[in-house]
Symmetry: C2
Subunit: 129 residues, 2 copies
């Protein structure tokens, strides 16, 4: 059975898409730590980051760099934090999170963002790629 | 004034060193979330991850992959988590953390590790590079 992220990549589940290329896909986290919290995912379904083959890992990190720069140009923040944890969805995902303080990185404080604003955010990040 | 990490890289402050090459340095976090928690640092002093030039960023990620694989071979865990936050020390550092549950990634639960065990851990990770 495919993961929820594969369903998002295939368009079976809607998402606020931010970027896509042949091997990777980025979209807004639906339960964001902060406004602009984005997930970068390889199209290949692999559970753990360091089980990715070296090329896919490096490609994912390059892709994440590009997306992070676009988020930085779109959302006022001190910096973009990065995290890869993956204990919930068994499909590698890089969290890119606009942060100002440590609590923005603990995944214990969430920021509800209305649908209209999610849409506008995704469009703005896309334009800043 | 140089950052605490530059002082560690230069040997002015002792550390449990794990790996080093021309551009990067890895050592055990002295206040670890879990046993084996390691920091990977570019020798170049840059505050924010996405302010690194592309080559240094990609080099740091390649270096971190190698170190993560060695930690994985040295410390029993579900997987190696990765985080880049950087709000405390203005010198890019990639956290590589052996994790089993979400609390291992929140930086709110620390695991004191005796000096002897830190030394043994660093040696074991080095050997598994």
């Amino acid at each position: 059975m495919s993961t929820i992220f594969t369903k998002i990549i295939n368009g079976e589940i809607p998402s606020y898409k931010v970027a896509e290329d042949e091997h990777f896909f980025a979209f807004l986290d639906i339960n964001p730590n902060t406004r602009g919290h984005t997930l970068c995912v390889p199209k290949q379904e692999v559970n753990k980051l360091f089980d990715l083959d070296k090329d896919t890992y490096e490609g994912l990190m390059r892709f994440s760099y590009k997306v992070a720069k676009a988020i930085e140009r779109s959302v006022p923040c001190d910096r973009i934090g990065m995290a890869v944890i993956g204990l919930e969805v068994p499909h590698v995902h890089v969290h890119l999170i606009p942060i100002n303080e440590m609590k923005d990185m603990t995944f214990q404080h969430k920021t509800p963002v209305p649908a209209e604003e999610m849409k506008a955010l995704a469009e703005q990040i896309q334009q800043n790629l």
